[in-house]
Amino acid sequence: MKWMIVLLLVSGSAWAGEARPMGDDPAVEARLKQLASELRCLVCQNQTLADSNAPLAEDLRREVREMIAKNMSDQEIIEFLVSRYGDFVLYRPPFKTTTVLLWAGPFVLVVGGGVALAVTLRRRQHMIRDAMMTEEERRQVERLLSQR
């Protein structure tokens, strides 16, 4: 039992060693991590550049790491990638004519749904008010109820 725990600890620490980030400077790594989580991997399109293990993602992380080391601003680094891969690399694309539907679509749907709901509810209210009895029907109801 004891040796198993030792083995577990040893293998655990070995694994942690492999997962250590490649760069040496923790400040560079922190900025890379923050930037890469805003950027999309082009190979595995639903992963961020930080998450992806694709070779291209590794290369792009290397490029970003080098640009950070050269003291380039976040803006400059993002421009470098957008000029090559387009707005697609951004998880938050800019508001432009081509992305209007993307940004405004949800709000249009919410407003449209709200209006549709209000109209339907109002119509229903009218329907309830319309269900009035005639004098003849009222007498019939009273007759039926008094029969007991």
Binding site: L42, V43, Q45, L56, D59, L60, R84, Y85, G86, F88
Partner: protein, 175 residues
């Protein structure tokens, strides 16, 4: 009857959107480089390491730049199309061996044939990043002024060559 009209219309619109969405290829990301100057490079050649191949040498020519690798299965699919195009002599094809091993790349060309005038070696994939390559094969049509005019993502096929590449190349050569 009319109470079904509105939901049915909305349903129709959604089906329309989804139908168009199904025909699109999510891997085809429009390149921001079209209409822009091709990024400069100067790289060693595959067949002779001591020589380089650079973008500047290509000024005044309409040419294709094909990113490929011996490990890439799509490149094998595309290869006969490139061989046919090279044989026709319509447009010179230059290769960019992307993140590959020299020996394997040379063996691949020996086995299947070499459609390229010159192959440059982009071992680290940096020129690939400059060109916005995210999956080989990718092919660029570059005009006499060194401007990228078209980008093919994924393997070229006979239809794309006949309908898009060749008419564009003819137009650019006439300029």
């Amino acid at each position: 009857m009319s109470r079904f009209l509105l939901p049915l219309t909305i349903f129709g619109i959604i089906v329309g959107f989804l139908a168009v969405g199904l025909t699109l290829n999510p891997r085809e990301i429009p390149s921001p480089l079209i209409g822009k100057a091709a990024p400069a490079f100067s790289l060693p050649q595959l067949h002779d390491e001591s020589k380089t191949f650079s973008l500047d040498e290509m000024k005044g020519q309409v040419w294709l730049l094909n990113f490929w690798a011996s490990w890439c299965s799509g490149c094998k699919t595309e290869h006969p199309v490139l061989m046919d195009l090279a044989r026709s002599g319509a447009v010179p094809i230059y290769g960019m061996d992307y993140k590959d091993q020299r020996g394997e790349a040379l063996a691949w060309l020996d086995q299947w044939g070499n459609p390229y005038q010159i192959v440059a070696v982009d071992a680290a994939g940096r020129v690939g990043i400059d060109y916005g390559v995210y999956g080989v094969p990718e092919t660029y049509v570059i005009d006499k002024q060194g401007v990228i005019r078209y980008k093919q993502i994924g393997p070229l096929d006979d239809e794309t060559v006949a309908k898009k590449i060749l008419p564009l190349v003819k137009e650019l050569q006439a300029q």
